[in-house]
């Protein structure tokens, strides 16, 4: 990793989910691809948040832009991608059931109470087809992996972060 560039706003790309719960792990799979295939500048951190929940809290400190990738229950067809930003995220988590709603919802709520909320926050979500135990994605979600990665890269582009292939 390059040396941290203090002049750049710090970015955290956070994939959340459980790899042994089928589509629940999709966020982690996306960040694994980023980690494997791209060179990351010092001010951009890519993290496999797994099912850590509140344990991620210290990693939010000092983060100005947060990009979360997660399976989200939207009621749409499996594989449907959604993008939410800012206040839409906690509101959506309040009313819609995410596979690990408590973890992410509590994380953001506590971050707010402690004053660690990033200035910009985007959630790239995908509707899971199955969150039962299993280590492969359902076809509908698997088919969206490339698209999700593109969404993430384009979101980062919007923040002035242009990732190069490693």
């Amino acid at each position: 990793m390059d040396k941290q560039d203090v002049s750049q706003p710090r970015v955290l790309v956070l994939g959340i989910g459980n790899l042994v719960m089928s589509d629940d792990g999709v966020g982690v799979l996306v960040v694994q691809r980023l980690q494997r295939d791209y060179r990351l500048p010092g001010h951009v951190e890519v993290m496999d948040g797994g099912t850590l929940g509140l344990d991620i809290l210290p990693r939010l400190e000092g983060i100005e832009r947060l990009l979360i990738i997660d399976a989200v229950e939207t009621g749409l067809a499996p594989g449907s991608c959604v993008r939410m930003a800012g206040d839409e995220i906690p509101v959506a988590l309040e009313t819609k059931v995410s596979p690990h709603q408590m973890g992410l919802k509590d994380l953001l709520a506590v971050a707010m109470l402690l004053g660690h909320v990033p200035q910009e926050m985007v959630l790239v979500g995908v509707q899971p087809g199955s969150i039962e135990m299993g280590i492969i994605l359902t076809p509908a979600v698997e088919a969206q992996l490339d698209h999700l990665l593109k969404l993430v890269l384009s979101e980062l582009n919007g923040w002035g972060v242009h990732l190069e292939l490693a």
Partner: protein, 565 residues
Amino acid sequence: MAKIVVDPITRIEGHLRIEAEINNGKITDAWSSSTMFRGIEKILQGRDPREAWYWTQRFCGVCTTVHSIASIRAVEDALKLKIPPNAQLIRNIIMGIQNVQDHVIHFYHLHALDWVDVTSALKADPAKTSALAASISEWPKNSTTYFKATQDRLKAFVGSGRLGPFANAYWGHPAYKLPPEANLMATAHYLEALEWQKDVIKVHAILGSKNPHPQTFLVGGMSIPIDPDSQNALNADKLIEIKGLLKKAKNFVENVYIPDLLAVASYYKEWAAIGGGVGNFMCYGEFPDANGKLWFPQGIILNKDISRILPVDHRKISEYVDHSWYEYADSKGKGLHPWDGESEAAYTGPKPPYEYLDTDKKYSWVKAPRYEERPMEVGPLARVLVAYVSGHKETKAAVDMVLAKLGVGADALFSTLGRTAARGIDCLLIARQTPKWLDELIANIASGDYRIHGNEKWDPADWPAEAQGYGWHEAPRGSLGHWIKIKDQKILNYQAVVPSTWNASPRDAKGQRGPYEAALVGTPVADQNKPLELLRTIHSFDPCLACAVHVLDVNGNEVVSVKVS
């Protein structure tokens, strides 16, 4: 009579269901059930005993060290291995800070909301809160400005309509008794404790290379190299960093947790007569020194008789499945010692969704462990009672201080409040002791002893054809045991009996209640649709069902339902 079901119990780890009968505003009978199955022990069969800890650590994602410690000790016991003093001290520091962090998190983040009404904190006068805080502690953050700022953030948060971690509580319930100022003080410290806990657990990252799930455990010692002058080892810089973190841990416990605990408890003294439970207590003892002498003594107390302590013999432990969803090969009504334990699942409960479990038959995935056929409560209360009665100097001083400040006698310990107070005492004792183990470690390294592993019998060719071992640990929630049988260098059988298996146990062959069930009898419930009091007694045990049943929580979507008939 009304029968209520609380499923799941929130602010615990894992999944617990309680069914309770209520007559005239009091619980008259209760059943504790875990509705998730475990299975890691079966995965271990046929594997290399030296890697068992790596798997058992995954029983849980909360107290992630405890199942490693118990596992490596079981293998060391089986192979008769001795570990060097440095490894022992490092383990003590890892276990110590785990206990301290876990207890603070339990008090503020899992249990306090049973006693502290966050919504009432909005009505508090910050100046009066500051005066209250200053009267019980010299904590530097106790200013009016500080409490005002916390209250403002809380107001903005509640005003947003999102309660986040404060959802699923019974705000405004008549059983909440703290004045608004005490509620604001405790809520401010709830947030402070969140910041504190993430710092102090860095000790695990330093000594264990990562947290959760430290990676430096090893049968025969530890795998972290010691060299004061190397950047790639436990060196002088890292030891000093740990020293600072342990000081921070102790400082918070002494100046925030204990004063808050005493302040909150003083408003709820009637809970010193509620929630007594089975009255039998067990502690395996913990924190061995270089010679194996235990700092916390082991022992058993029966029938609340604090005039004598009985020794613990793990051979007297057996697990029953008469009310648990398992089938033993041939033993109706008989218990099995964990060396011969079996985990064959045999679910006979109703098909979900269901209204009630058939509690006359099998009703839980938790087995019923018994010591000489008696149910045992384990945990901080058991640990503190055994140490107190054994004349453990530091424990005696801390218990007497707490009893004197609350103006109650030792009988008060056998209760919901006693359990919660004992956790604070346990935390205080360990928070004060852990820095001493670090000093010993530093002195030992300074003397030139860098040994971290015994280096004996690592090669399975040096092992006997058959061996069996018992690994014990006093985890935050109490006595944890792992039992291993080794044959031809592979695991033949493996069983874990975890603290919450003891405490959350269902009835046994004789129909004796487990500790949760017994403690709930007599607990008042003012409003059966909002059984806050039931939660107080259950939470006082700090349930952790994730490891009692050994399975991942599939669905973080917790919708609490309280069903009343």
